[in-house]
Amino acid sequence: MPKIKNAEANYLYASALLRGAMPKDNNSEPIWTNATFRARVYQVAAMSLVALTAYYLFTNTLANLEKQSIATGFGFLSREASFEIGESIISFSSSDTYLRALWVGALNTIKVSFIGIILTVLIGIVMGIARLSTNWLVSRLAGVYIEVLQDIPILLQLFFWYGIFNNVLPSPRQAMIPMEGVVLCNRGAYFAIPADHPAFVWMGYSFVAAVVVIFILRKWAKKRQEETGKIFPILSVSSAIIIAFPLFVWLIGGAPTELNMPVLKGFNFEGGYNVSPEFGSLLLGLVLYTSAFVAEIVRAGIQSIVKGQREAAEALGLKPLFIMNLVILPQALRVIIPPLTSQLLNLTKNSSLAVAIGYPDFVSVSNTTISQTGQAIEGVALIMIMYLTISLLTSLFMNWYNSKMALVER
């Protein structure tokens, strides 16, 4: 018996004894009343149960596959896909391999998720702030937007928008032209874009350069502020940089202004940038649905900051912009970012519903692959690995963010 100094230690010892965490003094009790021993037995039993079930399913599967003479393994990936894919970022033809087809699908998933996430965050922030507006009309409209879009299944919304593209919009010959350079018809939406010119490639590079410069500048400004207390006007300077760099390159490159306009040729439009009905309705559905959830998160985040924080900042004599940047936002973001990430992850996962309206995303291509090759297990496994990887990367990011953002307490 250890030496017990006070009541608390006595209690701790007793509760540890009850949990069986400490060996008891007399060993005369039978072994099955020992909690540690029983815990081991339970675990071994649970693990064997899982292993046996897995083994049973595995042998069944092997037997079934053998009977249906389906080869296992990922060898099919290098075979010829022999199906066409409607839209693709990289070149693809039916004589390419399944591996390349799946890669096209993965890129399409990334494309729709990436654009979707940007739009969702923008609309979600606007709607979340609108919900808190002092204007009754604005706040009510935002409320209706949030409530209605949250309560209708995403798949139904996708079908609805796809139906609008197919049934409501006219054929290319009677296409709606709401403004110069924008065409809406049942083949999708067409937008005029600047015609190809080498200057645009260089503008892209200069944009990346601008981002890098701003990143370095921010670090320097923050360090200087912490050391000297001087505040650098980072927002206006970085906006200037991000506009000026590409603009300068554009001017040097000869300021090309020629536009690539969509033109009706035969039964369809040519030229311009085409947003297919599948991509358009998928993007629209995903963005509207997810932005309703994001709006709620933003609203809750802003409301979570107690009024005293703003008042205290005002009492210190901070300007409104600094109150927002230095006091409100850092605290609100701590509340907003974790659920926001999970919503954006949901958007990425929901993009798999593309399979229902025929947008060739990863799931859609895998589904075609499964039905053509019969490699169901490999196909489903590929889908799961793809999304698990995305989820895992996101949670790694979240862990990093949480550790960075964790309140440093004294």
Binding site: Q43, T134, I152, F159, A376, L388
Partner: protein
């Protein structure tokens, strides 16, 4: 300490002042009381403080009113004035407006799917029982052991009614179940089965035994990391391979399993939140009373932990309800799929808007009811906390 006393006596003085204030009214000539200016009360005051309280807000209000002016009249014209409410599809082709005649003409198929026409009363009663059981369970004073019997009995009745083959009811193949009936079945059964499974998973994740904890973590994180559609594909194309030769499980049951496995992982995370929020003293108090693990969980921890996570739990159930629509992709005739298949009928082909708005209304009513129930319960529970 002294400060506190001062403060409370001040409070008292203040509250007596407030209480006595109305008494003075009797002494004042009512004629002399100045009413607030008309611009601050009533309709005008409301408009001023809610719509035109700043230049920017005035601008925004006018912009929105302008949009209303542009959007609402054409919509009203489409939905109500030019619309066709009854009659065959041919009546709609001529009109410019909405074809609400779609609803009376197709509602039977949309709600019941391929369920035999003369047996549809059974499906209708089954639906009422499912909704009724959920509605019955809403009151907190009914959350006791007898509720389990109500659910057990309800489930049995629904199964007998839908499947038939008993009590002189004609048997109906499960492949014929469809429409709203199937949607409700998948969601109600899914929620009921996923809930206890989710609790077990949450307990396993909080367990002291490393092997059990690891298995629970792997399961929960894996399921939460993949989209539901991949599990439904698995149920459609992989489950048959898992089973020994000659054994087949019907498609609805397989999809149902996938939904349960999926929802349980989300429930588990919500319940884990509740378990983590329990103060350690509750565990220690239960242990010091000599309760064993299951007694402690059943009598002390879970009743409290589950109560504080009711709002997020309802959130999970709402998404589970919406997610049942995904079975349409693996060709089960749920509400969404029956609606879609009516649209492949050449007669109704162009009327997808009307059809989708109609079933969106059905989904909305169910989800909105659950969401407002959750909000009310949240208020009740938080009111209980503060007293």
């Amino acid at each position: 300490m002294k400060n506190d006393e001062n403060l409370s006596s001040d409070d008292k003085a203040f509250s007596t002042a407030v209480e006595t204030a109305p008494l003075n009214d009797h002494n004042v000539n009512t004629q002399e009381v100045l009413k607030p200016p008309i611009t601050e009360t009533g309709v005008i005051g409301w408009l001023k403080s809610n719509l035109f309280n700043s230049p920017l807000n005035t601008l925004v209000t006018f912009f929105i009113l302008f949009c209303f002016y542009k959007i609402i009249p054409p919509f009203v014209k489409w939905a109500f004035i030019d619309s066709v409410w009854f009659g065959p599809a041919s009546g709609c082709q001529a009109g410019e407006g909405a074809c609400w005649a779609y609803i009376p003409s197709n509602i039977r198929f949309v709600v019941f799917g391929l369920y035999p026409a003369q047996e549809q009363w059974r499906a209708l009663i089954a639906m009422f029982i499912m909704v009724g059981t959920v509605v019955y369970s809403r009151k907190r004073e009914r959350w006791n052991t007898s509720l389990i019997y109500v659910w057990g009995f309800g489930t049995l009745l629904v199964a007998i009614l839908l499947k038939g083959g008993l009590l002189g009811l004609a048997p109906v193949e499960s492949s014929k179940w469809g429409g709203l009936v199937l949607t409700l079945l998948l969601s109600v059964v899914g929620m009921t089965a996923a809930y206890p499974f989710g609790i077990v998973l949450a307990l396993a994740r909080r367990s002291n035994m490393p092997a059990i904890r690891t298995m629970a973590v792997v399961y929960i994180e894996m399921i939460r990391g993949v989209p539901l559609i991949s599990l439904l594909f698995m149920s459609a194309v992989m489950f048959p391979l898992f089973l020994p030769e000659g054994v087949t499980i019907n498609k609805i049951f397989r999809a149902q399993t996938a939904i349960i496995l999926f929802t349980a992982a989300y429930i588990a995370e919500v319940v884990r939140g509740g378990l983590q929020a329990m103060p350690k003293g509750q565990y220690e108090a239960a242990e010091s009373m000599g309760l064993n693990y299951w007694q402690m969980m059943r009598l002390v921890i879970l009743p409290q932990a589950l109560k504080i996570v009711i709002p997020p739990t309802v959130g999970v159930l709402i998404s589970a309800f919406k997610d049942t629509s995904l079975v349409a992709i693996i060709a089960l005739y749920d509400l969404l799929r029956t609606c879609q298949s009516t649209l492949s009928d050449p007669k109704w082909m162009g009327f997808s808007n009307e059809a989708y708005i109609f079933i969106a209304g059905i989904y909305f009513i169910f989800c909105y009811a659950m969401a407002s129930y959750s909000r009310r319960l949240e208020d009740e529970l938080s009111a209980g906390q503060s007293h």
